[in-house]
Symmetry: C2
Subunit: 292 residues, 2 copies
């Protein structure tokens, strides 16, 4: 089994990004600047934002965090987004999801200038991606595509099963894998909560991408020998032996699947770090577009 080492590949990508930033500095240009909006105190959100900011520091990006309490009104949040849309010193920004229930997530995402939408969640970017045009691709599926490319995994004409149809992972990766392209061109099936015979689907797929959110759901007897398995799951499972009281589990039973799959991503250290690297890549691209 070949481990798809997202930690290693993401470090390589971050080094390339760092080099691009250094070139900007040498040419007396400002570094990329990523801003993040965080509403409320959700623990997982705080962790993600923290590691995005640390990664910005690592590659030489400027970063700004704007925090609001969970009772901020939708109008005030959208006003803040408009400020960021107009701020020429900010190249890209993200609104950390989920948002409190009194705020309409789609209305908020629609208010982001697509040129600064480095999460790629705005319909204009999402539509461009689906139509095969250049756009900001959501970071998680972008990271998966990058892993596949770096490990030269053959995808053309292969059957690819995506389990999960979320707008941030399942849907976009199902589209990307079926677009034209050397590391795409797969025959893609998208399965979800209403799908039947999931076992039949997983056991026939050359490539399985799990974005379900059920810890250790995929066992070795559910897959083909020699398949590629990408694990996007990150569920916090209670673990009293750990200092923070939990451990992170993927959707794949790593121990058994690793004996049968040809390629497999670990959790943690697989898709997670790639996601952050690709967010940085999108921000660098936004910076370069912003200056041209």
């Amino acid at each position: 089994m070949i481990l798809l080492d997202g930690k290693k590949i993401s470090e390589e990508i971050k080094n390339e990004i760092k080099f691009s930033v250094e070139k900007l500095i040498v040419n007396r240009q400002r570094p990329p600047h990523l801003a993040a909006i965080l509403v409320g105190e959700d623990g997982a959100s705080l962790t993600y934002i923290g590691s995005k900011i640390r990664s910005c520091d690592q590659v030489g990006f400027k970063s700004s965090l704007f925090r609001y309490s969970s009772d901020i009104s939708e109008i005030d949040l959208i006003k803040k987004i408009n400020d960021l849309n107009l701020d020429s010193e900010i190249d890209g920004f993200i609104v950390q999801l989920p948002l409190p229930s009194h705020i309409d997530e789609h209305r908020v995402l629609l208010s982001i200038n697509p040129k600064k939408d480095v999460d790629g969640f705005h319909p204009t970017n999402f539509g461009k991606m689906a139509l095969g045009l250049k756009s900001f691709v959501p970071a998680t599926p972008y990271g998966i595509m990058k892993l596949i490319e770096k490990y030269d995994i053959q995808t053309e004409g292969k059957s690819c099963l995506v389990v999960g149809r979320s707008n941030i992972v399942g849907r976009p990766i199902s589209i990307l894998m079926s677009l034209r392209g050397k590391y795409a061109n797969s025959t893609v099936t998208i399965a979800h909560s209403k799908s039947k015979n999931l076992l039949e689907l997983t056991s026939k797929a050359d490539i399985v991408i799990m974005a379900l959110g059920i810890p250790e759901f995929l066992k070795s007897d559910m897959i083909q020998k020699g398949s590629t398995v990408i694990d996007v799951g990150i569920t916090r499972v209670e673990d009293k032996s750990k200092k923070n009281g939990y451990t992170i589990k993927g959707d794949v039973d790593f121990k058994s699947v690793s004996k049968k799959a040809k390629y497999l991503t670990p959790v943690p250290g697989g898709v997670g770090p790639m996601t952050i690297a690709m967010l940085l890549q999108n921000t660098l691209d936004a910076r370069l577009l912003n200056s041209s």
Copy 2:
């Protein structure tokens, strides 16, 4: 076998649209107005545009056709589109595809105001559709969804195979069939020119949507008994017995497949007339949005 009678259903939809137009007139409001841009002299394009204009007349819409010779520059074409974008008397408009090769189709589509993009090809509309938001849905896949709904075909948890990944049919219908919804929620596979084992895929699907463009490709021995077969193919095949010298063939061998499928669309009279009805529906919706 139950024939999915697109001709009949489209007439019903057009009658409903006509009734909505009459209500506007009674309230002393202007009827919907659809404009079309046609570049060059392509025979099929002329036929399509002609039948769109006749359908406008039929439901009481105003229509305008702007014709240009095939040597029009991209800039001049986009200028015309800008005029239509700004014309408050035009609710929606379409640019008939294909365009001559010296014109960048994507740049042209991007110049259309998404609020008047009744073909639903602009990335903002396409992205909204893919994200499950309200948008103008491209007319052909919209027509297919409407046929499925009108005949109360069960789709939830069913396996649906889409053959073809074009931006105007295969891609959008593959997304629509896998979204949440009573007449959606299918487990969708999208196959295309790089797919292998197409026979295995067609013979396992509960619903087969053919958008391949190869006349009579799908034979009865390729499908499951009792399946639903939707034929989006419309290829002109030479036929000297016909006055115009050709006959229209679908992607499905109707004669044999009709003995095995439960539901089947004829060609012509299936998806084709539904496409025009849904273009009218989008234009009516644009008119009502325009006045609100």
